[in-house]
């Protein structure tokens, strides 16, 4: 049995065990941790896409998008085939010799495909080979208008991630964010790689802090529709239908849905200082969760819905606290540094990302374990980093930073490697929120 098969078997065993565990316990804490340091990435090569009948350059674009997706997946180690002397691009039908050559260079998985046209549609065929064999082990055909070509490639990338890990890939997820193009700050949604931004609001003033519903159909956010008052609004993305959920007077900020979508926790100062409230989405009953003379804000739910991390300055400066979802059992989580805020609980429950002020007074990203025992700084350098939000696979964070002057949206691996800027143009981009799967 080849080494590749052994790796695949081990991964599948782990995945089967993990899925059985999830089904039985209802908790997501036993998920496969493919990003642990000893995880061996699967060497993969992209032979390219034959695009004789496609628009010039589009086959190369497909290969570029696919390679970027595979690199970001952190599952695969993308091999440089030309450097190894392996012929790529416009390969008509991969020859047996290519697979032998690839195996000799330690490459387990090869991808090859075709891009063509059929009537008004583009047709993308992707084929997967592994173990040095020229037999196709999986093939997919995607067809659709050329405007969704990138999405077709993202589907192929997600298919590969699923095939080799049993986990859904994130290449088709989206990022909601705030962008200022012509003076006002509006909500936008873009692909996870920063492409295809689409404007969601056109109020002409200020909208803040979008957050996804677990079913990905809605965004909740803070709207300044009258300029003098703040509301928590909800918008249905597919229709643009919009309504107000909470309009209590004072601040109405940082809304966050519970993982089951039944409750919305947000901060409001209608009683004086900023406190956390829970709105039951079915009964519309509002329940106060925090009660003290300090400010409580920025709630983030644990993935099992039992606990909430939040920012509070009850101890002086802002620090991260944890409490049960009913507001009981409050305890302080962060002690290092005099400013820790904007917590974001990871999808696997193992880390809470947040903004931390460093000894040199820079606002950077840190992660802390929910028991407070482990802490790591993720970003460094100049600029104010803000609003960390996890990818649904827990392998990336998206955040805003003024590191290059204007505030832009960046993606980074959760271990602090591979920083990538996602936005360009405009005068300001902030408040990114990564969609669920």
């Amino acid at each position: 049995m080849s080494r590749m098969r052994v790796v695949v078997l081990i991964i599948y065993l782990a995945v089967c065990a993990a899925f059985v565990g999830i089904m039985e316990s209802g908790a997501a804490d036993v998920f496969l941790e493919a990003t642990r340091p000893d995880f061996e990435k699967i060497p993969i090569g992209v032979l390219g896409f034959q695009g004789k009948t496609a628009v010039a350059g589009s086959a190369e674009q497909v290969a570029t998008v696919l390679k970027a997706d595979l690199r970001r997946s952190q599952i695969f180690s993308l091999m440089d085939l030309p450097k190894l002397g392996i012929k790529v691009n416009d390969v008509d039908d991969p020859e047996k010799a290519l697979f032998k050559q690839a195996t000799e260079n330690g490459i387990s998985v090869l991808v090859w495909g075709k891009l063509g046209v059929k009537e008004a549609d583009v047709v993308l065929d992707g084929y997967v080979y592994d173990g040095g064999n020229d037999e196709v082990v999986a093939g997919k055909r995607y067809a659709g208008p050329s405007s969704v070509l990138r999405l077709m490639v993202h589907r192929l990338a997600d298919e590969l991630v699923f095939r080799y890990t049993g986990e859904p890939g994130i290449a088709r997820t989206k990022i909601a964010f705030v962008s200022e193009q012509t003076g006002s700050r509006e909500l936008y949604v873009m692909d996870y790689d920063g492409y295809a931004p689409r404007q969601v609001t056109a109020d002409g003033f200020l909208n803040l802090m979008p957050h996804w519903s677990p079913d990905r159909r809605f965004l909740v956010f803070t709207a300044y529709r009258s300029r003098t008052t703040q509301d928590i609004d909800m918008i249905e993305l597919a229709t643009g239908k919009r309504w107000t959920l909470a309009s209590l007077g004072g601040l109405n900020i940082t809304p966050a849905f519970s993982p089951d979508g039944n409750d919305l926790v947000f901060a409001t100062s209608h009683d004086g200082d900023s406190e956390l409230y829970k709105l039951d989405m079915r009964t519309k009953v509002l329940q106060r969760l925090t009660s003290n003379s300090a400010s409580d804000l920025s709630p983030s739910w644990s993935p099992n819905g039992r606990e909430i991390a939040f920012t509070s300055d009850r101890g002086g400066g802002p620090q991260i606290y944890l409490m049960s979802a009913d507001g009981s059992n409050v305890r302080r989580l962060t002690y290092e540094g005099d400013y820790n805020a904007a917590p974001a609980w990871s999808p696997r429950g193992t880390w809470i990302a947040h903004v931390c002020r460093t000894p040199t007074k820079e606002y950077k990203l840190c992660v802390v374990s929910p028991d407070g025992q482990q802490r790591r700084q993720i970003t460094a350098g100049p600029g104010v980093d803000d609003s960390p939000s996890w990818s649904p696979d827990g392998r990336h964070l998206v955040f805003s930073s003024t590191a290059e002057g204007k505030s832009h949206i960046y993606m980074i691996n959760s271990d602090g490697t591979e920083l990538e800027r996602l936005t360009s143009g405009g005068t300001h981009h902030s408040s990114p929120s990564w969609s669920p799967l």
Partner: protein, 223 residues
């Protein structure tokens, strides 16, 4: 045609079994190969809820292929696959120009009033001695113009998080309102709003600029 497709699916099942058979249960395998498209097990394993119209990106069809070169017929193309987020085109609105006009009118009225803004130290909402003097003269103007309605905007510099700065901006605006109330201004003439660091007066990154942005901005409302 249909038979050929089923055969293709079965071939896929066999190759998958060879690859992963010993690891997963029989039930898993059937779920993987028995469905029309391999998209289905993904939905079962990883997605909590799918199939709503909102998740369908219209226009992409998907199907399994097993051999290069074989060109499946059009009937084999599957319909829309759930999984993509669709975003409706934003409704054009006239609010942008209306709001710009409202802001312009407020700016003119505020400039004409001669009302003074107040400034704060870093991370602070304490009213300084300089601010007290400014607010004393503001209070006189407000009392002398009993029909005017005012808005106190709390602003912050760019350091720190957006959310915490919204809280800080509100504390600043409320501190200004409370001090004006102490000077005898009727509090219900004073609306309070925090813009945090979202509407800075100055966009440079130095202390001079930060100082300008840590502000209680007093605005004459025009509607």
């Amino acid at each position: 045609m249909h038979t050929r497709y089923v055969t293709a699916c079965l071939m896929g099942a066999v190759s998958l079994m060879l690859l992963i058979g010993p690891a997963c249960s029989k039930k898993e395998i059937q779920a993987t190969s028995g469905s029309k498209s391999s998209e289905r097990p993904i939905a079962k394993a990883g997605r909590a809820d799918s199939g709503t119209a909102a998740r369908t990106e219209p226009g992409i069809s998907e199907q399994d292929l097993l051999k290069p070169g074989k060109d499946p017929s059009a009937e084999n193309l599957q319909g829309d696959i759930p999984g993509d987020i669709k975003v409706a085109k934003v409704q054009p609105s006239d609010s942008t120009s209306r709001i710009a006009e409202d802001i312009r009118r407020e700016q003119v009225a505020t400039a004409a009033s001669g009302l003074k803004d107040v400034f704060f130290a870093f991370d602070s909402w304490n009213i300084t001695e300089e601010a007290r003097q400014a607010l004393s003269s503001d209070a006189e103007w407000i009392k002398a113009n009993p029909n005017s309605m005012l808005k106190i905007e709390g602003h912050c510099d760019e350091r720190g998080t957006q959310a915490y700065n919204l809280v800080l901006g509100e504390k600043r605006a409320k501190a200004v309102r409370n001090y004006l109330a102490e000077l005898g201004v009727v509090a219900n003439r004073l609306a309070v709003v925090s813009y945090g660091k979202e509407r800075p007066f100055c966009k440079e990154r130095d202390e001079l600029c930060y100082q300008q942005n840590r502000r209680g901005h007093i605005v004459v409302r025009t509607k």
